[in-house]
């Protein structure tokens, strides 16, 4: 890589992070100004609830992708966690036992991914496509096609409720806490330094005394754990445990992370950008739906945004270079 290239790459990353946050803010302002009832506090609550699963799962996914791997099994882990939650609830287990069990289950599912990727050295794309099918299948095995409802109102109300009399949804606390945790870990701890180093060059990281395998393993565990949590919250939000909960969410999560400026090749990315990416997708979806634009338009917007988020900086660079010579 030539010196010139690398200079512009740093600049590009910084620019994209700023750009995506700016675009997100802009979209929020425009939507609030032009779309009826977008800016209401009630809509804010709906928006946060709709974002919840993607926002949560995107956090560890960011770290996983920065290390140069990927985890496509998250939505299936979410589904399995939800299914097991329903199963245990049907089996008359106390919810206070079920929730930790579901989190543990998520961590175990993540550990299985981590085992295949780090100990057996298999490509994570293939492994997590495998576990995507496996975990979803197990979810159906556990709960079949039925739905379990009647979760205690205390819990379901908390998930859908707001803090005291404020319009701030309770689950926003969960998102903010986890975002801060993952953000601090990624950007202000030795672990975070290791994440970037491993993603940019696994070999160089090894020569610096880091343990890429172990790091990745624990990131997969974290990814599974958060997916398990997302499964619990999903179940409580809809008060419905189903094996197909969250199906297809993995692509939306990956899209949000990439939109947030994380490089699919690893080594680059920042958490604020990812959060902006999540909010941007969610806000667009919400605003378009409120303006009676169909779902399908949203698909197109998501796809185009995703491609443009990587394409635009590339094009800008080549234009700049052409002008210089």
């Amino acid at each position: 890589m030539s010196a010139e290239l690398t200079v512009t790459r740093t600049a590009r990353l910084a620019n994209w992070n700023v750009a995506i946050i700016a675009i997100t803010v802009l979209v929020l302002i425009v939507a609030a100004a032009t779309v009826d009832s977008f800016g209401t506090s009630r809509n804010f609550g709906f928006l946060v609830l709709d974002l919840l699963p993607i926002a949560l799962v995107a956090l560890p996914m960011t770290l996983v992708i920065v290390t140069g791997e990927i985890d496509l099994s998250v939505a299936s882990s979410l589904g399995l966690s939800s299914a097991v939650m329903g199963y245990l609830w049907n089996a008359n287990q106390p919810i206070e036992t079920i929730i930790p069990l579901c989190l543990l289950l998520g961590a175990v599912l993540g550990a299985v991914n981590g085992f295949f990727v780090t100990f057996l050295g298999l490509p994570s794309l293939a492994v997590t496509i495998g576990t995507l099918a496996l975990y979803r299948g197990l979810a159906f095995v556990v709960l079949g096609d039925s739905a379990v409802a009647d979760f205690p109102a205390l819990y379901t109300d908390w998930v859908t409720g707001t803090i005291g009399g404020t319009p701030i949804p309770n689950v926003l606390i969960v998102i903010v806490v986890l975002a801060v945790v993952f953000g601090v870990v990624l950007h202000a701890t030795p672990v975070g330094r290791a994440v970037f180093a491993v993603g940019a060059s696994e070999q160089a990281a090894r020569f610096a005394g880091l343990r890429p395998g172990r790091l990745k393993f624990w990131l997969y565990v974290a990814s599974g754990l958060v997916a398990g949590l997302a499964g619990v919250l999903w179940t409580l939000r809809y008060s419905s445990a189903r094996a197909d909960n969250g199906a297809g969410l993995e692509l939306a999560v990956v899209a949000a992370v990439l939109l947030g400026g994380v490089s699919i090749f690893g080594g680059r990315g920042a958490l604020p950008g990812v959060i902006a990416g999540v909010v941007l997708l969610g806000a667009l979806q919400n605003a378009l739906r409120l303006s009676d634009v169909s779902n399908e338009a949203l698909n197109v917007v998501t796809g185009v945004l995703l491609i443009v988020s990587v394409l635009a900086p590339n094009l800008a660079r080549s234009v700049l270079q052409r002008r210089r010579t």
């Binding site: 030539s2 200079v7 202000a188 030795p190 970037f196 005394g209």
Partner: protein
């Protein structure tokens, strides 16, 4: 000799990579029926010239003429079509394809309906190998070939092209004497058939044995082109380096202290076997040998980035667990690896992050890093090593090679090692920096650090080491004291035969 017009003329070509001017206004001619050597220190720009001839890089200015006509070599395919065959310095094989396919890629013999005639393809490969006198199974995949075999396949590839110009960038670096002889026999027959050869090597005996003419480069510039008959090796070296070599190795004399690093019966199949030696505090011990003799693997195994099958490693009498660089670091070992692009540095991270990467835990406060302490520490160490850079937050990949090497050194010196292992510490850095690195190693040794240095540069080995250990094919074959170590004795041990210099 050199009758008629040149087959290929290089006219005032220049090429820069960002701030690095790799090649500046270099001109020379290649004639049919002649072998032309290109010499220069590491980083002088030789490979860059090769890549311009191969169509990989486009010259920033200057032209390349083929048979008197300016050639537009935009892509490797253009160069191929123009009859230029290239053996690159780093092997460029397709690991998943068979050896025969690797050789024939792009010009496979065709049978009916333009399908590939596999039998003919394998036959061709086998014939080429016969000509080179090696036995490599044409049907095996290229993955897993040793460096030497990979180089042989590259040579076969170039031979199969029937090219008018054959460019060889250090083709012999990984070959043994016999293989080199075979290669030369083939090269001479090519030359006698009228091809123009360009040959790059750091071994002068090879150059004098094969070539008629030599172009000398220094720091990207053309120094001179001469007939080899009219120049001695000493003169060549002086032109290459630009000064006398003596001053390069400022070794201070030190009385060695206690044993700091002790290695016993270290083995790792199939790379090295039963390696035992000690390094004392204050001593500089060089590990010499031919490329591929297993030196890097030994030091990597000591540091723990590579596993070991058996044997022990002790630091100041305390045994190190295998495969744990962390423990090695805690025990005071530092390894400056040979490949700084892949192993030494994370090119996409900033200078400060690279310098502090092994120490990020100790720099953190309550587990958190705010950047300030990292920056201060990075500034301190890069300044100590007089590293030149714009800002500490620049990507380390933007630095010049020598400064990158300094960053690697800073990164490891900052861990305050008691045992410093350096693998090819001066590869690809300019003479000035080289001397600085040597001074630094001397000073560290004088301060009581045990230094183990792997180097392929004989003058460096002879100039710096208190003791020289020589490896051949994965075994430690000689231990020479500073007084016994000469070019002849080291080469003899390294090759197992009389050196022809």
């Amino acid at each position: 000799m050199a009758a008629g017009t040149p087959v290929l003329r290089v006219r005032a070509v220049s090429k820069s990579f960002g701030a690095v001017a790799a090649v500046r206004e270099v001109s020379f001619d290649l004639y049919g029926g002649e072998a032309h050597a290109l010499v220069g220190e590491n980083g002088a720009g030789k490979s860059t010239i090769v890549k311009m001839l191969a169509g990989v890089h486009r010259p920033d200015s200057g032209t390349i003429e083929l048979n008197g006509v300016p050639a537009e070599l935009h892509t490797p395919a253009d160069a191929k079509a123009a009859g230029i065959a290239v053996i690159y310095q780093e092997p460029t094989l397709f690991p998943d394809l068979t050896v025969a396919e690797n050789i024939a890629m792009g010009r496979q013999p065709l049978g009916r309906f333009k399908t590939i005639d596999r039998a003919a393809m394998v036959r061709q490969a086998a014939q080429l190998f016969t000509r080179l006198g090696v036995s490599i199974d044409p049907n095996r995949p290229a993955r897993g070939l040793s460096i030497a075999d990979q180089q042989l396949v590259e040579i076969a590839k170039a031979l199969s092209a029937d090219a008018r110009v054959v460019v060889m960038d250090e083709p012999t670096a990984a070959l043994t004497g016999v293989e080199v002889e075979r290669l030369f026999a083939v090269a001479r027959s090519l030359r006698d058939d009228g091809a123009a050869l360009m040959f790059i090597s750091h071994r002068f005996e090879e150059i004098t044995a094969l070539c008629e003419r030599v172009t000398i480069m220094r720091d990207g510039r053309h120094v001179s082109t001469e007939l080899l008959a009219g120049i001695t090796v000493d003169e060549m070296v002086r032109k290459m380096v630009g000064r006398d070599l003596g001053a390069l190795f400022p070794k201070q004399d030190v009385t060695p202290g206690a044993v700091a690093l002790s290695v016993r019966d270290l083995s790792r199949d199939p790379v090295f076997k039963d390696v035992s030696f000690d390094v004392r505090a204050g001593e500089i011990v060089a590990l010499a040998g031919l490329i591929g003799s297993g030196r890097s693997e030994v030091v990597q195994s000591i540091f723990g980035v590579d596993p070991r099958d058996s044997g022990t490693v002790e630091i100041a009498g305390k045994a190190l667990r295998p495969s744990s660089p962390k423990q090695a670091m805690a025990a005071g070992v530092a390894l400056v690896p040979e490949d700084r692009r892949q192993q030494g540095l994370v090119m996409e991270l900033s200078i400060e992050r690279n310098v502090t990467l092994p120490r990020s835990r100790s720099l953190s406060r309550l587990g958190f890093l705010t950047g300030g302490r990292e920056r201060r520490s990075a500034r301190e160490w890069t300044e100590r090593l007089t590293t030149k850079y714009g800002r500490l937050s620049d990507e380390v990949g933007t630095l010049s090679g020598g400064n990158q090497q300094k960053v690697v050194l800073a990164k490891w010196l900052a861990t305050k090692p008691t045992v410093l292992i350096v693998d090819e510490p001066t590869r690809g850095i300019d003479v000035g920096t080289k001397a600085e690195v040597h001074r630094l190693m001397s000073r560290l040794a004088a301060e009581g650090v045990a230094v183990l240095m792997v180097s392929s540069e004989l003058p460096e080995v002879l100039g710096m080491a208190d003791r020289v250990l020589v490896m051949r094919e994965g075994r430690l074959v000689a231990e020479l004291d500073r007084s016994e170590a000469t070019e002849e004795s080291v080469m003899f041990a390294a090759t197992g035969q009389e050196a022809s210099l």
